[in-house]
């Protein structure tokens, strides 16, 4: 099935050119010039990926991010003007899964989107359920429970958790996680990992300040343990 992308961008010419480029990939592109329009369109025809420009008239990109996040676990790619501003972290905190800085090559955008839509690796036979103490992961069903209760994770958070769960007690560096989860090379932004780990902890830890499952291995990376 064709991937459906919703692009939220106030510049009509950018919207049109991005639409042309993404349609070349064989995808369906919905367009929204404002956040308000985007919410309306998303509610009527949910997209597989949402592309949001931070600088929007009316409700801004951060607000739109939070609103869509409340509605869905859909991957969100945010477009910012600069890489070293607070915008990046603020956008990730608002619920974005990845970001791009303007001007970006449409090829790069489609690569990012493909990475975010990658399926979780199929679990090894006989390992359909991964257990880490009170945390249980069922990769094939996309389900996570903490103490028996369902934990709602976004698609990216889920893939990150599965990546960590794939090698219990193995330590994953930020670079490896960037590669496996986001498909970024060496020059990917480590803050993506950090913010997502923080968000993951809010959901799968009893006390996110004292993580027992998703632990930091100083100087090396992260590890999932029971």
């Amino acid at each position: 099935m064709a991937i459906r992308v919703l692009t939220v961008e106030d510049d009509e010419r950018i919207r049109a050119s991005v639409k042309l480029a993404l349609e070349d990939e064989g995808w369906i592109v919905d367009e929204a010039p404002t956040g308000e329009d985007a919410i309306a369109i998303f509610q009527s025809t949910p997209a597989d990926v949402v592309l949001i420009d931070i600088m929007l008239p009316g409700i801004d990109g951060f607000e739109l991010c939070r609103t869509i996040r409340k509605l869905s676990d859909v991957p969100i790619v945010m477009v910012t003007a600069r890489i070293d501003t607070h915008d990046v972290v603020a956008g990730l905190e608002a619920g974005a899964d990845d970001y791009l800085t303007k001007p970006f090559a449409p090829k790069e955008l489609s690569a990012r989107i493909r990475a975010l839509l990658r399926r979780v690796r199929p679990s090894a036979p006989g390992h359909s359920k991964l257990v880490f103490g009170n945390l249980e992961i069922i990769p094939d069903e996309g389900k996570v429970t903490l103490g028996g209760k369902d934990v709602p994770l976004t698609k990216t958070e889920f893939r990150l958790l599965c990546e960590l769960a794939h090698d219990p007690n193995g330590v994953f560096s930020r670079e490896v996680l960037l590669d496996k989860v986001w498909g970024h090379g060496y020059f990917g932004d480590g803050r993506l990992v950090d913010v997502h780990i923080r968000r993951l902890r809010m959901k799968v830890e009893v006390d996110p300040a004292e993580p027992t499952h998703v632990v930091t291995v100083r100087g090396l990376g992260y590890r999932l343990q029971s």
Partner: protein, 505 residues
């Protein structure tokens, strides 16, 4: 009408010349390199010294003259009285000269009578009397007095002709007590002069400290502002004179702050404005590129030109924006520890010559540096671009510890080429903005806006490192660019067993 001839102007050079002399003297006495604090100190000290000196000299002069005069008058009167008595005695008994001299008082006396000198004391002889005095008394028959040095002390000699007794009476009175008293006064005055000078210097210290303090504060504030802390202000003061400085300074900073903020805003506005059309251009060009084969040959050529220049334009805009961010002090590095060798290899991989060789010295493969990996990668990409465009040859990268640092706390990443090398004096110029190196004509219009090296220099400066260019030292023609960075840490060998098996895949 012919104007009446102007009367010649009175010469004015005299005043200016006098002024020049004063100025030159002052300059010679107080050279410029003496600081304000010391100048105030010297002025106060010298002022106090001169003032107390003048006071002491006058005081001493007055004291001395009134003291000595008084004493002299008393002595002279006494001498006249004594002379009278001696004369009376001599008239009564002219033979007993000694008796006449010794009968009273402690003064040393000398009598010249009938060609014979008679003294009542061994310490006072004819030789002690200066000739001038002797002439005046004996020849001119006039009473006279004179102060002489007598032994170690001053003494007053009074000479009186005793006309009735046909004799001449001389009396010598030591002025030692007077002298002692004067010496005490002198010492007291010297002491008080010294104290006054010391107090002057002390006051000078106090005043100079107070005068310089606002200047020091202003200087500190100015350097804080230079470092980008534009919210720095001078404390307001009650002092009217200082208030002028404070107000003017704070106004200046406020204006500067507004301007810098406006520039920064301008940067971000420009960034948005330029990026949007570029975005459209890049996306549209890509769409056309994916249909390149469907286009006629001439359109294909045009499209290739278009795509090439869109890319170039993107790079130029990125460079310009980055440079203007430097100027606005708006760069925030995203620093993290980087394994240097791995980082350099990755940076090369995304550069325009991804197959560039890396040679590393023993031990440098364990080095971590602290840096913003994307910005540092730009530095090496720009250096490789520079080598590629300007040398036309194949550059190589060498990682080694700094030559001049045996502690191995600094590392050099050297980009070396085998091009034509650097022309004398070009070493620094090439880091200037829009500089294209010595043989600009040959390269102009080919590639690069001449911002690459300027940007590299700014990035390296932000990383507290340094960058410079020189000709190769191994005798082969070519240039080398050295990036000098602090070693953040010598990595400990990682426990491989602990790392995920995924990590090694």
């Amino acid at each position: 009408m012919i104007p009446a001839p102007q009367p010649p102007r009175p010469p004015r050079y005299r005043r200016t010349r006098a002024r020049r002399i004063i100025r030159n003297t002052a300059r010679a006495l107080l050279p410029r390199r003496i600081g304000l604090r010391h100048r105030i100190l010297i002025s106060f000290g010298a002022g106090a010294m001169i003032l107390s000196g003048v006071l002491a000299i006058t005081t001493y002069g007055f004291t001395r003259s009134s003291f000595v005069q008084q004493r002299e008058t008393a002595e002279i009167n006494q001498a006249f009285a004594n002379a009278k008595r001696v004369q009376t005695d001599l008239l009564a008994n002219s033979a007993d000269v000694i008796g006449a001299l010794e009968q009273f008082g402690s003064a040393q006396r000398l009598l010249f009578s009938n060609g014979v000198w008679t003294s009542n004391s061994k310490g006072f002889t004819q030789a002690d009397i200066p000739t001038a005095l002797k002439t005046r008394v004996v020849t001119n028959l006039k009473a006279a007095n004179m102060i002489i040095d007598h032994g170690t002390n001053a003494a007053l000699i009074v000479g009186i002709p005793l006309e009735k007794a046909h004799a001449f009476y001389f009396e010598l009175e030591s002025l030692r007590e007077t002298q002692d008293a004067l010496r005490s006064v002198f010492i007291a005055l010297m002491l008080s002069g010294a104290i006054a000078t010391a107090v002057g210097i002390g006051l000078g210290l106090l005043v100079s400290g107070r005068t310089v303090r606002p200047l020091v504060q202003a200087a500190q504030a100015a350097s804080a502002i230079a470092e980008g802390r534009f919210d720095t202000r001078l404390e307001t003061t009650q002092d009217r004179d200082l208030e002028m400085l404070t107000t003017a300074f704070n106004d200046m900073v406020a204006t500067l702050q507004t301007r810098v903020e406006r520039d920064a805003r301008f940067t971000s506005d420009v960034s948005h404005e330029l990026r949007s059309p570029l975005m459209t251009l890049a996306a549209s060009a890509q769409v056309m590129h994916s249909r390149r084969d469907e286009l006629p040959e001439r359109s294909q050529a045009a499209l290739d030109l278009l795509i090439g220049d869109v890319t170039r334009f993107q790079g130029l805009v990125e460079d310009l924006l980055e440079i203007s961010r430097f100027d606005a002090g708006a760069i925030r590095l995203i620093n993290e520890p980087l394994a240097l060798l791995e980082f350099v290899r990755q940076a090369i991989a995304v550069s325009s010559l991804p197959r560039t060789d890396v040679i590393f010295a023993a031990g440098t493969d364990q080095i971590l540096v602290q840096g913003d990996k994307r910005r540092l990668a730009r530095v090496f990409a720009n250096l490789i671009d520079n080598a590629r465009i300007h040398s036309g040859g194949k550059p190589k990268i060498i990682i080694q510890f700094a030559d001049d640092d045996p502690t191995k706390s600094r590392v050099w990443v050297i980009v070396e080429d085998d091009g034509s090398g650097l022309i004398d004096g070009e070493e620094e110029k090439i880091f200037e903005r829009f500089s294209r190196g010595g043989s600009a004509g040959q390269r102009a219009g080919s590639e690069g806006a001449g911002l690459g090296l300027a940007l590299a220099a700014e990035h390296i400066a932000l990383h507290s490192g340094s960058i410079w260019a020189e000709n190769r030292r191994d005798g082969i023609r070519g240039a080398r660019f050295i990036v000098d960075l602090d070693v953040f840490i010598q990595a400990q060998p990682v426990d491989a067993a602990q790392l995920s098996t995924e990590a090694s895949s």
